[in-house]
């Protein structure tokens, strides 16, 4: 991943972060809220190649750590999303190219959101944080995955398009 692409990704994720914090989080969806930011970020991480997902995950995590409503230590999201990006990158060859299989892509991103949130909660336990009732967390994680599953088909095509537009000629080869 080139520096210019990393910069463009940062700008995109920053814009999504502002939209998430100021608009999306104000909508009282049933079950629980929807994280537009996490859905797009996981989508971008999934289609990256050669450990690009790790870099995208780290950038996305650092931006998410700036969330004023977060009471987790700064850097926790960066660590979680870097690890998730690493797992994505390790398995990218066995998973194959998602752009031809949109349904699989959407399911993968939803499952990715479940994995990410559970990892986040597990790290919270390791750091001695109070995560609250298990049942409530269970509902939150599944609720988020449900909304991701529902909204991802609308969000992921522009994300794929964005990636193709930002690829340099050298990266296209």
């Amino acid at each position: 991943m080139s520096w210019s692409r990393a910069g463009l990704y940062s700008l995109l994720l920053l814009s999504l972060f502002i939209i998430q914090e100021s608009a999306v989080s104000k909508i009282n969806l049933p079950i629980t809220g929807f994280s537009l930011y996490l859905a797009v970020l996981l989508g971008l991480m999934a289609i990256e190649e050669n450990f690009g997902g790790v870099v995208v995950g780290f950038i996305g995590g650092i931006i998410l750590d700036f969330s004023p409503s977060a009471d987790s230590p700064f850097g926790k999201w960066a660590l979680v999303l870097t690890l998730v990006g690493y797992v994505f990158s390790l398995n990218s060859e066995s998973i194959g190219d998602f752009t031809d299989r949109p349904a699989s892509f959407v399911i993968f991103v939803s499952l990715g959101s479940i994995g990410t949130l559970i990892t986040f909660l597990c790290f919270g336990v390791l750091l001695g944080e109070n995560n609250g009732a298990l049942g409530h967390n269970f509902v939150m994680v599944l609720g988020n995955a449900f909304w991701t599953l529902l909204f991802a088909p609308l969000l992921l095509p522009p994300a794929i398009k964005w990636r193709q537009l930002t690829l340099t000629s050298r990266e296209r080869q």
Binding site: S22, L38, V54, S67, P73, A78, N130, G132
Partner: protein, 329 residues
Amino acid sequence: MASGGSNRSRLLVIILIVTSLFLITLDLRGVSITKGSRSATQSILAPIQRGVSDIFSPVGSFFSDIKNFGKTKAQLKELKAANSRLRTQAILDADTKGQLAKLKGVLNLAGRGGYKVVSARVIGRGSASTFSQTITIDAGTSDGIQKDMTVMSDVGIVGIVKSVSATSSIVLLMSDPTFRIGVRIARSQSVGVLFGQGSNRYSLQLLDASGSINQKDILISLGSENSRPFVPGLPVGYVVAVDKTTASLTQTATVQGYSNLNGLGVVSVIVSVSQGDPKDSLIPKPTPTATIYVTSTAKPDTASATASTMPSNIPSPTASTNQVKKVKK
């Protein structure tokens, strides 16, 4: 950047993980750079949230309104009639009117408790991906708000101020799993601790082994030293179920909070307490009802005649709303 071989990529992963761990360590050790970054983000986001709040105010509750459609269907007929009546009244923005009503309620409660308050509009809710239950309000240090001040609605406690910027503040809601508040049962004066559970239901644990909890017991805040973070005497909730198990030394119960944390529009931050502990004076009182008993007489015509010619010393039912009236003839 990772464009070379596998070793280089792995080195990159290790560097990023170490960087993350370094940031976590800095934050846990209380380095001000990381603490200040969130405060700076809040200052940047607050004006955007304020702008978006006006647009999203009607949209925000759309889905919850759909969820409650079955419940409100019965009220539809009544609302239609009310709607035609309201058309003739002065046209006032519904959102502003609602906020005004909430504000009146908050100021009324604050006034009775002798609290000096700063009222603010809710301009944002905590992100869905952060697990913490917070709201953002459009008042900050420039309005006299400081960290660890109590936040209240028109019916009771809402939470405490978690962080403050110049023009906005983040409020940790009492439903957050990390939230703890000392409470007193109004009836028995037993003291306990209320725990946030992620919803509007809370868990209460008594501190006194000999204390007792009954259903519908009202809980009020115990207060903290110098009224920070909690002021005393503020209504918190009421007991809906008492745990019958004998496993714990003290009694536990499930509590329903007074404040509807999903429908907050206007809240007030208590900046000082002028009259000391208001004791139980803020406990919500049940709405008074008027009951009229009319015994039938021999002829229906006579009954109607006696009702219309009641002695002047018996107060009219329409005029009496504060007391229960029993009129027997």
